[in-house]
């Protein structure tokens, strides 16, 4: 009982960490976008204010049970994938290191690929029940795009798996610690393919076809306000952080302490963000085909590299 209680507390600590970092990143991204646009931009804590404001909305609507559960489904994905992904490297010896090993040994990469789709599907259900055509259009776009970027992403992961004969993320981190080489240097093609897939995964321009504010009125979330939007926003922040940590774990050797974690994830996060600021938006089929073009080719190279070396 005590063990479970401690586990739950640790999980909550992880969640709070991810929430804070993810929200801050969101604000910083808005700030950076503003600076690139040659304006001041909002303060870095703007996302917290937004979230709090959404949380303290006094009235709202819902369209039925599935509309409720959509947000909960989304949260499941974020939290469970956060639990599975090791936040800190097993070799790090910071005093809080053991706090963040929640379910690290209970799932592996293939599990992660699948649990990451649980939320979008549930969210899609919620969006569908609202009856708003924009929501459904956004969902089909999102799912199509997912089929697009999943291929280079899986190719990168398979390349890693066949080189190191494991699918466990912890093992990958251990391998990087023991060899002293980050996997992004050990198999650069896999890293490039994964980063290209990441552009789609984070849904910044040119791949922001799901939200598409001007055409789809923010897509799947268009019927959500107040607490629903708050839940989705927090879930999105946590999920963003989880995905970044996954990339850091796989390709950049993980992080030994929180500062390194923040630095690495932030640097990685800047790739889709900066690419997005200066890009217009693709059409859906263009986006899908883009992912099946060069990124897939590089993914094939990664597998070839892994097989040959």
């Amino acid at each position: 009982m005590e063990y479970i209680l401690i586990k739950v507390l640790e999980a909550m600590a992880t969640f709070v960490l991810a929430f804070i970092v993810g929200m801050t990143y969101g604000g910083v991204v808005r700030k950076i976008t503003g600076r690139v646009h040659n304006r001041l931009g909002p303060p870095w804590y703007q996302n917290f204010i937004d979230a709090f404001k959404l949380f303290s909305k006094t009235r709202g609507i819902h369209h039925g049970a599935m509309h409720f559960l959509g947000a909960a489904f989304l949260m499941v994905t974020s939290v469970v994938s956060l639990m599975i992904i090791p936040i800190l490297a097993p070799g790090g010896h910071a005093w809080y290191n053991s706090w963040f090993t929640n379910l690290n040994f209970n799932g592996d990469l293939i599990f992660l690929i699948y649990i990451m789709t649980f939320g979008p599907l549930g969210m899609a259900m919620g969006a569908g029940q609202t009856g708003n055509p924009n929501s459904s259009i956004g969902v089909t776009r999102g799912l199509s795009q997912m089929v697009g970027f999943e291929i280079p992403w899986v190719m990168a992961l398979v390349a890693l798996m066949i080189t190191y004969k494991t699918t466990s993320i912890v093992d990958f981190m251990n391998i990087q610690r023991e060899t002293g080489t980050w996997l992004m240097f050990a198999n650069p093609f896999a890293f490039i393919a994964a980063v290209l897939a990441m552009l789609g995964m984070f849904r910044y321009s040119p791949f922001d076809i799901v939200g598409a504010p001007t055409e789809l009125a923010s897509g799947p979330v268009s019927e959500n306000g107040g607490k629903f939007l708050f839940t989705m926003m927090s879930s999105g922040s946590v999920f963003t952080f989880a995905k970044l940590v996954l990339y850091v774990d796989l390709f950049m050797g993980g992080a030994n302490n929180l500062i390194m974690l923040v630095v690495k994830t932030f640097l990685l996060y800047m790739i889709p963000v900066l690419y997005g600021i200066v890009s217009p938006r693709y059409r859906t089929e263009q986006a899908v085909r883009w992912f099946w073009g060069w990124p897939t080719f590089i993914g094939l190279l990664a597998i070839l590299y892994a097989v040959m070396f």
Binding site: R39, F52, K53, S56, G226
Partner: protein, 183 residues
């Protein structure tokens, strides 16, 4: 403890502060004032530094900017959109058309007084107001929210019969068909 009057007041103060610094704007841009919103939001005047941000749908929005004249047809949609927004919610009237009809004061199909149909929190004068004036108006709105006086939504609910009567005067059949208020 939460029900204690003082703590409630403190919580409310914090909430109002957050509300005033995070205003998601739904621009109802049918009038000529819509052109003033672009410079207000983009690099030159950068309203985002004050916490303003565009909202895509009424469900997410906090404030509705009514940028210019409203015809009988559009006022119906405006009322509909307003009712779909989730409270606390605010209305900002742009330009003299919303205040007194402006140059369309004797047109058979533009309304003259917006505040007979919707509770307006802030009016911005001008034909059209420049972005500076818009920013000044929005700052005023922030100030009102911080003081806790921006209670248009409650006002609308309290005086619903009066508002509905005014709306029915220009759109008798439409009001009968519209569903209830939804918040």
């Amino acid at each position: 403890m939460y029900n204690d009057k003082n703590s409630k007041k403190i919580v409310e103060t914090i909430q109002n502060w957050a509300r005033s610094h995070s205003i998601w704007v739904l621009a109802y841009g049918t009038g000529c004032g819509a052109i003033e919103i672009s410079p207000t939001m983009t690099s030159r005047y950068d309203a985002e530094r004050l916490g303003f941000r565009g909202a895509a749908t009424p469900r997410q929005a906090d404030v509705m900017l009514i940028t210019g004249y409203l015809t009988v047809k559009t006022v119906k949609r405006v009322v509909r959109v307003y009712e779909q927004m989730q409270s606390p919610k605010y209305v900002v009237g742009f330009g003299s058309c919303t205040i007194n009809g402006g140059m369309y004061y004797d047109s058979y199909n533009t309304i003259n007084l917006l505040d007979r149909y919707l509770p307006v929190d802030v009016y911005i004068n001008g034909c059209m107001p420049r972005p500076e004036a818009v920013l000044a108006g929005l700052s005023k709105l922030q100030q009102i929210i911080r003081e806790g006086n921006a209670n248009g939504a409650e006002k609308y609910l309290e005086n619903l019969a009066w508002y509905k009567e005014n709306q029915r005067k220009i759109a008798p059949n439409w009001i009968a068909k519209a569903p209830d208020l939804n918040w």
